[in-house]
């Protein structure tokens, strides 16, 4: 297995000192055209009670590409992410307005079953959250609740191999998942998600609780999974966004007269453009470390 240079954990940050001319030191991943987008988002706003947490987001998510969402804390990127598999439904008083189409079907349509949505659009959380069960049962849980009828043993092996975890855990499938290291737990959570065979994987800061080596392994895995899955990843780590993503969405928050924060999508483009030649000053300031 030979990771591309862009995946080395000790790669220098992609931005030059402010004001200098940018010479790309990084081989950015080539984004394909957005034709046949998985998600079409238009005029999306999310309210918590009366508070408009995110305002007027427009973007399209490309098929089998990695889309990164970056921005300072409180800019609503996780909120937007949670709209894609209707996890915001679980928050009392959360309300979504605007359009989110999944393969041109309205995700918030009256007849859409959120359970079915979550089987197609999986999610990996910030803190590794394996079930307090065996490694095997963690992987088998999703297929079981979904009424999987095939051979579970084969599915578990296949899934763990797919998630590059099989060799590490094949001798202890029946031991508790909580005995694994943090990085292994997070890769188990990714494996658990792909066991359901979704089309999209949402990742909410998947590496923020991990050390650099574990982070590098997750990034390798993301790159491999992008051959088969569409991935949307929220990250605070700009190098991570630069390393793994094809496209990057930059969010920030406006503060209104009443002191309330409203998340906004500022710029959405190919990752190479966002990190080398952004069109908005705020993006430039953020990625060069001048704020956020």
């Amino acid at each position: 297995m030979s990771p591309t240079p862009s995946l080395e954990p000790d790669m220098p940050p992609p931005s030059d000192p402010p004001g200098g001319t940018r010479t790309p030191q990084v081989s950015y991943r080539q984004a394909r055209p957005l034709a046949g987008a998985v998600f079409e988002v238009g005029g999306l706003s999310v309210f918590y009670g009366d508070h408009e947490a995110v305002r007027d987001v427009n973007l399209s998510i490309g098929h089998r590409q990695i889309t990164a969402m970056i921005g300072p804390s409180g800019c609503g990127k996780s909120t937007v992410l949670r709209c894609f598999n209707r996890m915001n439904d679980l928050i009392p008083h959360a309300r979504v307005a605007g359009k989110i189409h999944y393969h041109s079907e309205d995700l918030y349509g009256r007849e859409v079953d959120p359970i079915e949505v979550r089987r197609r659009i999986g999610m990996v959380f910030q803190k590794p959250n394996p079930f307090p069960k065996s490694i095997y049962d963690n992987i088998a849980y999703g297929p079981r609740v979904g009424g999987f009828k095939g051979n579970l043993d084969d599915l578990v092996e296949e899934t763990l191999t797919h998630a590059a975890l099989w060799d590490e855990v094949k001798d202890k499938l029946k031991t508790s998942a909580l005995a694994l290291s943090g990085g292994q737990q997070q890769r188990l959570c990714i494996a658990r998600t792909i066991a359901v065979q979704p089309e999209v994987i949402l990742m909410d800061e998947p590496c923020s609780a991990l050390d650099p080596i574990a982070t590098a392994k997750i990034e390798d895995l993301m790159e491999k999974l992008a051959e088969e899955f569409t991935i949307i990843v929220v990250t605070h780590n700009m190098q991570q966004a630069a390393r793994v993503s094809h496209r990057t969405a930059f969010f920030t928050a406006d503060v209104d007269d009443k002191g309330e924060r409203h998340g906004r999508l500022i710029e959405y483009d190919e990752t190479s453009r966002i990190f080398s030649n952004p069109s908005d000053n705020r993006t430039e300031d953020y990625i060069s470390g001048r704020f956020g």
Binding site: N85, M87, L90, P92, I115, E116, R118, R119, G122, M123, F125, K127, N129, P130, F131, P132, Y141, G142, V145, G146, L178, C189, R192, T193, V196
Partner: protein, 300 residues
């Protein structure tokens, strides 16, 4: 040798690390903590020693092989009360555990805490847990024994005690359900599980040890209750074991109450022996609760 060189080589003027000892306030505070603890433990130990001392002449197998005998206390036993206690508690558990656990699941997982009716239920459960047990006795007598016509039976007693401990079971089960981290529910739902699957397969298994511990402690409170059952009336001299829920019965606290109020000294040691039996049952149940808690304690 090297260490002594180091010790003697401390340069002059370096501050020494000697303190002024533990301040007296600190000592006083610790002493008062110890005293408070000692008061409780000494009283309990004294009580136990006294009861065992009083019961000593009668602490033999006759206490559970023989039946109460008003004429010959030296040969009387408490078998009917022990069996009555077991019957009543078993049926109390049967009625109050499913009800309490289901109510707790509703309140924790389904109820919207901002709706007024849920707030009302919430406040009422807290209040019910604080209602004196004699009030439940009145309820049992008026509604269950006379109103529903169940009479002075095991059924009436179990239902009355179920009502008495139901709020405790609900509160303990809610605590156990709440202790299951939200991240586990989210992980399950994100994999396409329904809410019921999430509760059945993730939340309940993780909450069972906590619910069991709380339920056992609630039942051990029910075992020691005499007041509500006394109100049901006329259950103090029963010389047969219950044969079903329709049976008449007596329980240990009532039997003890009955013997203690007799004037002859033999009855006092008989009562003490019954108290020892009751305490052993209670300690066994509490030990089981502690064992369960430690055995299945989970770190997230």
């Amino acid at each position: 040798m090297a260490s002594s060189v180091l010790e003697h080589d401390a340069p002059p003027g370096v501050p020494r690390l000697k303190g002024r000892g533990t301040p007296w306030r600190e000592r006083f505070f610790r002493l008062s903590l110890w005293t408070s603890l000692a008061v409780g433990v000494i009283f309990l130990a004294g009580l136990l020693i006294y009861v065992v001392y009083e019961a000593w002449p009668r602490l033999d197998s006759r206490i559970w092989t023989n039946f109460p005998d008003i004429i010959d206390p030296t040969n009387a036993g408490a078998q009917s009360a022990i069996m009555g206690t077991i019957w009543v508690i078993a049926f109390t558990a049967l009625y109050c555990l499913p009800t309490g656990i289901l109510a707790a699941i509703y309140l924790e997982e389904y109820a919207d805490p901002e709706r007024w009716w849920n707030k009302l239920i919430e406040i009422n459960i807290q209040n019910l847990a604080a209602v004196p047990s004699i009030v439940y006795g009145i309820l049992g007598l008026g509604v269950i024994s006379r109103g529903l016509g169940f009479g002075q039976t095991v059924l009436t007693a179990s239902l009355t005690l179920s009502l008495l401990v139901l709020p405790i079971v609900i509160i303990a089960s809610r605590e156990a359900i709440r202790a299951v981290p939200q991240s586990i529910r989210q992980a399950s739902l994100a994999l396409g599980a329904t809410q019921w699957q999430t509760i059945r397969l993730q939340v309940l298994p993780a909450a069972v040890p906590g619910m069991a511990t709380g339920s056992i402690l609630a039942l051990s409170r029910a075992i020691g209750e005499a007041a509500p059952l006394l109100l049901l009336g006329g259950l103090t001299f029963i010389t047969f074991n219950p044969t079903g829920v329709q049976s008449q019965f007596t329980v240990l606290p009532i039997q003890i109450f009955n013997w203690i109020s007799q004037s002859r000294a033999e009855f006092v040691s008989l009562a003490s022996a019954a108290i020892v039996i009751l305490l052993v049952i209670l300690l066994a149940m509490n030990s089981l609760a502690i064992w369960l808690r430690n055995r299945y304690a989970r770190r997230w």
